[in-house]
């Protein structure tokens, strides 16, 4: 198959027309899809792929959508696990995990953040010590989505306290279904519990579940985080399940519902800009000149941010070097969410004092007000985001480092354990 759009489209369409059958079971179908290479076409041929340039993947996605074919499992941390293992894992790990991640049989979680290291992920103090012929893990992780459902965890742990901060870390695949791993829900200020705390006490990791080498943990983590940032926009796009009646769609709907459950308040944390105009009209606030001005200001910001993202995408599609416009979306989103929450408050008036079913929009406005603060923190705080923009885009001097020039053992740190 030539790597041209028409050749890929024709080949994919022909294969799908010959093989797609909505009456198969979900896992059965995904195994067939994986065997053909069309499930992960940009992956290497040796590992379930077709070596297709990433630019042509949308063509495959279009063909899948055209015929209504269900794709491989993409929801949740499994995508990050696959990408990381593909980049750094051993053949044994690829053998063991890639297929089952794509079929949806294995579920993953990410064990990076700790109570003592949020923005500073490389300051992790969860430890892994080689004892006998196993790694023994002790520590606490936090903000772990779906940990209670996960079979496997992507674990960042410290293996050498005499090395400098970034050099003493290693990356492991942790079996979550073992004694020594305790998962507890973490209740957020908006009442939801979408994340977990994971307490790890003498949990065991066999040596073959180390990813890359001892001391490579930070490098491997960077790969995972890079894919996380890249995928952040995709969260909503893959969350739409088909409403067709065949059995395979029902299975897919159930899978998506489970994976998306923790994210059900995410639209509210972004401020629900879409609700502002209808709310202004419905409440009569649209006649208030102050509200009109504030709403217009917010729409200027929201539309400009949307067009900035489109500019970034256009540059990417044309293979041009990405300009600064690609790094700004997250910071813009924080401003927009905050401004939207302010306006929702103004328009709700005294009813903004209330929550629950009898409050505006059955509690939705209240949920916006207590969810928006997450936007400027989750996935990198605004402050870290500004540092990244200043250092990587504007090439301003890096923050002076006072924790990287000495053994990690001697670095001042939080004592929270």
């Amino acid at each position: 198959m030539e790597h041209t759009e028409s050749a890929v489209r024709a080949a994919c369409r022909a294969w799908l027309e010959a093989h797609w059958d909505p009456n198969r079971g979900l896992i059965e179908w995904r195994n067939i899809l994986i065997d053909s290479g069309w499930g992960a076409p940009a992956w290497p041929k040796r590992w379930h792929g077709l070596d297709l340039p990433t630019g042509l993947v949308p063509v495959v996605e279009e063909e899948m959508a055209r015929i209504g074919a269900v794709g491989v499992a993409k929801a949740g941390i499994r995508v990050l696990a696959s990408a990381t293992i593909l980049a750094h894992g051993s053949d044994m790990q690829k053998e063991k995990f890639l297929r089952r991640s794509m079929t949806g049989e294995d579920t993953w979680c990410q064990l990076f953040s700790e109570p003592g290291s949020g923005s500073d992920v490389a300051g992790a103090v969860t430890r892994a010590d080689m004892r006998g012929n196993h790694w023994v893990v002790n520590g606490q992780k936090v903000w772990t989505t779906s940990a209670h459902k996960a079979d496997w965890g992507l674990l960042l742990a410290r293996t050498d306290w005499d090395q400098r901060k970034h050099k003493g870390l290693s990356y492991f695949i942790l079996d979550m279904k073992q004694q020594g791993v305790t998962v507890q829900p973490l209740r957020q200020m908006n009442g939801h519990a979408s994340f977990n705390q994971v307490f790890i006490t003498d949990a065991l990791v066999p040596p073959e579940m180390l990813v890359a080498n001892v001391g490579d943990g930070w490098e491997v983590t960077t790969t995972t985080l890079m894919h996380e940032r890249r995928g952040a926009d995709g969260l909503r796009s893959w969350a739409q399940a088909s409403d067709r009646p065949e059995h395979i769609y029902q299975e897919e709907r159930a899978e998506i519902a489970t994976v998306m459950e923790p994210y059900k308040w995410y639209p509210q944390r972004a401020g629900r800009v879409d609700l502002l105009m209808p709310r202004a009209i419905e409440t009569g606030a649209i006649d208030d000149p102050v509200v009109r001005q504030e709403l217009a200001k917010l729409l200027i910001m929201a539309k400009s941010a949307e067009w900035t993202a489109r500019r970034a995408r256009a540059a990417q599609e044309q293979g041009r070097p990405q300009g600064p416009e690609g790094s700004l979306g997250k910071l813009a989103a924080s401003h927009i969410a905050r401004a939207a929450a302010r306006l929702h408050t103004t328009m709700a008036g005294a009813n903004a004092l209330l929550t629950g079913p009898d409050s505006p929009l059955g509690g939705l406005i209240a949920e916006i007000l207590v969810s928006v603060p997450a936007t400027s923190i989750a996935g990198g705080t605004d402050e870290i985001q500004r540092n990244i923009i200043a250092e990587r885009v504007l090439k301003m001097p890096r923050e002076p480092s006072i924790d990287s020039d000495r053994p990690f053992r001697d670095v001042p740190r939080n004592t929270v354990r």
Binding site: L299, S304, A314, L328
Partner: protein, 375 residues
């Protein structure tokens, strides 16, 4: 809607940027702004002629190059960046008014002179009240045996002191609102026409107050029908100015960054302080968002988008806030030296302030957005 510039457009921008950097460095801006006219005809004619700037967006049948509004906005962005004191915005908007309001005969009579760079033109619509809407017009036009005569005044007229041709918005005596508004062309030498240069805060953008005392004028288009096509012209004016503004804002941002990278305090560059880094990140965000809106609005004009009026006002209000805020930050980053006359920052600061108000301030344009979008 397109979200990127073509390779040809990028190349044109690059050539123009180099040309302006070479011919109109800040030293030259300062020299020109200190003159009464704020501009020199011969120097401008040479600069204009090098790339045919005046011909860019005028259709080929009237002696222009026939490029789109997007190309005009590229020129304006670069002129705003270099802070070129020239009647380019004024002449371009006068040409748009002739295109939208005028008959085929009007276009044929007036546009070739503009396209060739010979005629300097301007659009005179606001009066002492400082309102650019057609409805606010009080200057009157009366038709008699010897043609049309104009009586009244105009103010805040861009380059009104140097224009050869003035497009004047006027109304029929006794008419009100959008009805009875017409556009006229007046030659600067006409009897009864006088101008007075206004003492302007932004010395790189001169304005004039014009007085019309029984001035003979040429009717452009149809009598009493100018309000709607004039409104379209002002939609374009907002987009044109937005693009000029984002050029200036980006230049300020870059200059402030370069200064911070060089200025040493406490034994380190001030760019190494987190307070400076965060400020610069915020400035980048504001300028890039404003650029996106300005570019989108230019494309909306070229594509005849139904939403163009709202989008134009969005781009104008957004660019004004971004430009003014960037200017405030830029002066702050320069510290004490940023408040001196010798430092160049105040030149762009003043341009930001004049652009903020010209053609209606942010409040005005946000209200236009809401009238379009809030049903």
């Amino acid at each position: 809607m397109k979200f990127s510039f073509s390779a040809e457009q990028d190349e044109f921008r690059g050539n123009l940027r180099r040309l302006l950097a070479e011919r109109v460095p800040t030293k030259e801006v300062r020299r020109l702004m200190e003159t009464a006219a704020g501009w020199e005809r011969e120097g401008w004619r040479q600069l204009d002629g090098t790339l045919g700037l005046s011909a860019i967006a005028i259709p080929e049948e009237f002696g222009g190059y026939g490029f789109g509004f997007g190309e005009l906005c590229i020129v304006l962005e670069e002129m705003g960046r270099a802070l070129v004191p020239a009647p380019y915005l004024a002449t371009s908007l006068a040409a748009r008014a002739i295109l939208h309001v005028g008959s085929a005969a009007d276009r044929t009579a007036l546009l070739p002179g503009i396209a060739s760079g010979v005629t300097i033109a301007t659009l005179a619509s606001a009066e002492d009240a400082g309102n650019w809407e057609a409805e606010a017009t009080t200057l009157t036009a009366t038709s008699g045996g010897d043609g049309w005569r104009l009586d009244g005044h105009k103010s805040f007229v861009l380059d009104g002191h140097i224009a050869d041709l003035i497009l004047v918005l006027a109304r029929a005596p006794g008419s009100a609102g959008a009805k009875g508004v017409s556009l006229f062309a007046v030659e600067a030498g006409a009897a009864g026409f006088t101008w007075q240069a206004l003492a302007v805060m932004d010395p790189t953008r001169k304005l004039a107050r014009l007085t019309f005392d029984g001035v003979a004028a040429r009717l452009i288009g149809t009598a009493g029908e100018a309000a709607a096509p004039y409104r379209r012209t002002m939609t374009e004016a907002a987009v044109a100015l937005a693009n000029e503004m984002v050029g200036g804002a980006e230049r300020l941002r870059e200059d402030a960054l370069a200064y911070a990278m060089m200025r040493m305090q406490f034994g380190r560059t001030i760019a190494s302080f987190q307070s400076m880094k965060h400020k610069q990140a915020d400035m980048l965000l504001e300028v890039e968002l404003a650029k996106s809106a300005a570019y989108y609005a230019a494309a909306a004009i070229d594509e005849g988008d139904d939403d163009a009026e709202a989008v134009a006002s969005l781009a104008k209000a957004g660019a004004a806030d971004a430009y003014v805020q960037t200017a405030i930050h830029a002066i702050q980053i320069h510290g004490g030296i940023g408040f001196t006359w010798d430092n160049d920052t105040h030149l762009w600061f003043k341009r930001a302030k004049s652009s903020e108000v010209l053609f209606g301030d942010g409040q005005h344009h946000r209200e236009i957005m809401m009238r379009n979008w809030a049903a």
